[in-house]
């Protein structure tokens, strides 16, 4: 059943999001000189990830409303299964973007990673949180007429605790200025992502009717 949701989407979303991410990262590289401090690099990396997520994931339910597949899904599958499928799809998409961005970041921004394990865990946890919150919020605005405008408005403040914790955590995994010990940020990030994931699965039923 989960595959149904995933299969319904074409590769269009991936191409568009990937291009968006690479374009914005290139713009960043052009505009700012290299050799910035870690906290700037961490913030830039997450901002690009976040805006790619917003531009790519907001449309996922809207597309299904437009092509009338949403009604079929309502009949065919449990709401939790639909939500889980959507979260997994968003996560897969986001992870592709994140991996490409991280590699490009290392090459083009010249960021220097001291703690690879923590860097990977933080990127994964942040992606889980973004993927699950955008699944629920995307379903909320999918029937609204102004959804392309509304989605960033409601997604940004909700994701901000996640972004702040993620930026702090990535900063602590980068090493050019000496490793900053910041386990608290990593813990906060993982717990917040977990809460978003669970709440999305629980509440999806109420917005999917």
């Amino acid at each position: 059943m989960k595959d149904v949701t995933c299969e319904l989407r074409s590769r269009r979303a991936l191409n568009a999001v990937m291009l968006f991410a690479v374009t914005s990262l290139t713009a960043v590289v052009f505009c700012v000189d290299r050799g910035w401090p870690d906290y700037v690099a961490a913030a830039l990396l997450w901002l690009v990830i976040y805006f790619s997520a917003v531009s790519g994931l907001s449309g996922s339910f809207a597309h299904e409303e437009d092509s009338r597949t949403a009604d079929a899904l309502r009949l065919a599958a449990l709401p939790e299964a639909v939500c889980a499928g959507k979260v997994l799809f968003n996560l897969a998409l986001l992870l592709c973007v994140v991996i490409v961005l991280a590699l490009l970041g290392i090459v083009m921004l010249g960021i220097d990673i001291a703690n690879w394990g923590r860097f990977a865990v933080v990127l994964l946890a942040g992606s889980v949180g973004l993927a699950s919150s955008s699944a629920l919020l995307g379903a909320m605005v999918s029937k609204s007429g102004v959804r392309t405008l509304l989605f960033p408005i409601i997604a940004f403040p909700i994701s901000l605790p996640l972004l702040i914790a993620a930026i702090k955590a990535v900063e602590s995994a980068l090493g050019s200025g000496g490793v900053v010990e910041n386990y608290a940020a990593v813990r906060v990030l993982i717990s917040y992502s977990g809460i978003l994931l669970v709440l999305s699965l629980v509440f999806f039923r109420f917005v999917w009717e």
Binding site: P157, L160, K168, L196, F203
Partner: protein, 221 residues
């Protein structure tokens, strides 16, 4: 009766703040620190209002009665008012204390984000026309925003460096008078918020029944 008691209580709190309380030692500008008697309770009331709105959201999702949805929305509105008040009083205090209206302190930022979250709630409500869908979507949004609120208010300011004290009272820097005045003021502000809530609910209820009445008449025709 309740209004009179509340009015007298707030008169008492206000005059105590300016006349009875000693200037707060340990602050850069001890006289102006009296504003915390109004600043802190506003923030407390805002947080309480947001929690209350989440409670009514749960009740709505369980019982599906539109009055609970209205209660949840009214609590968000009141929370927004007090959040803005807390930010304005905080900004005035910061100008006196830290020398700038805005210094990008984690608590200032988190308060702004909190206001953004619940302002987005109003935008979300306004964008949905169908009543039942509006009610369930906004209930889910309020519940989804609750962990964000808790992280912003209680957790994030503590993992980042902040100028904002969070343990001034418990370290005994301000003295007992301040603890008592703050508690009294918080009670007063909560009373005002509850009063605003009942007025807001009377209005929503009237509008709700007026709408229902009109629909009923249309059905009869």
């Amino acid at each position: 009766m309740v209004k009179i008691v509340l009015g007298l209580w707030m008169v008492l709190v206000t005059s105590a703040a300016f006349l009875y309380l000693p200037p707060a030692e340990g602050f850069r500008s001890p006289e102006s620190a009296r504003i915390i008697v109004f600043h802190v309770p506003c923030a407390v009331v805002a947080a309480v209002a947001f929690v209350v709105s989440a409670l009514f959201a749960v009740i709505y999702l369980a019982r599906r009665r539109s009055l609970d949805d209205m209660r949840s929305a009214a609590a968000v509105e009141i929370g927004l008012v007090f959040a803005v008040l807390a930010m304005v009083t905080g900004s005035i205090f910061a100008e006196q204390q830290w020398g700038a209206w805005w210094s990008g302190d984690p608590r200032e930022v988190s308060m702004v984000v909190l206001i953004l979250i619940y302002a987005a709630y109003m935008a979300l409500r306004a964008s949905i026309n169908e009543d039942r869908r509006k009610a369930s979507v906004s209930a889910v949004y309020v519940l989804f925003a609750l962990p964000a609120m808790i992280y912003l208010v209680f957790i994030l300011p503590r993992i980042t460096f902040s100028l904002h004290p969070s343990d001034t009272i418990s370290r005994g820097l301000l003295g007992r008078e301040y603890a008592v005045a703050l508690a009294a003021s918080a009670v007063g502000f909560l009373g005002i918020a509850a009063w605003m809530f009942s007025i807001r609910m009377a209005l929503s209820r009237a509008l709700f029944y007026a709408n229902e009445g009109m629909e009923g008449e249309q059905n009869e025709r």
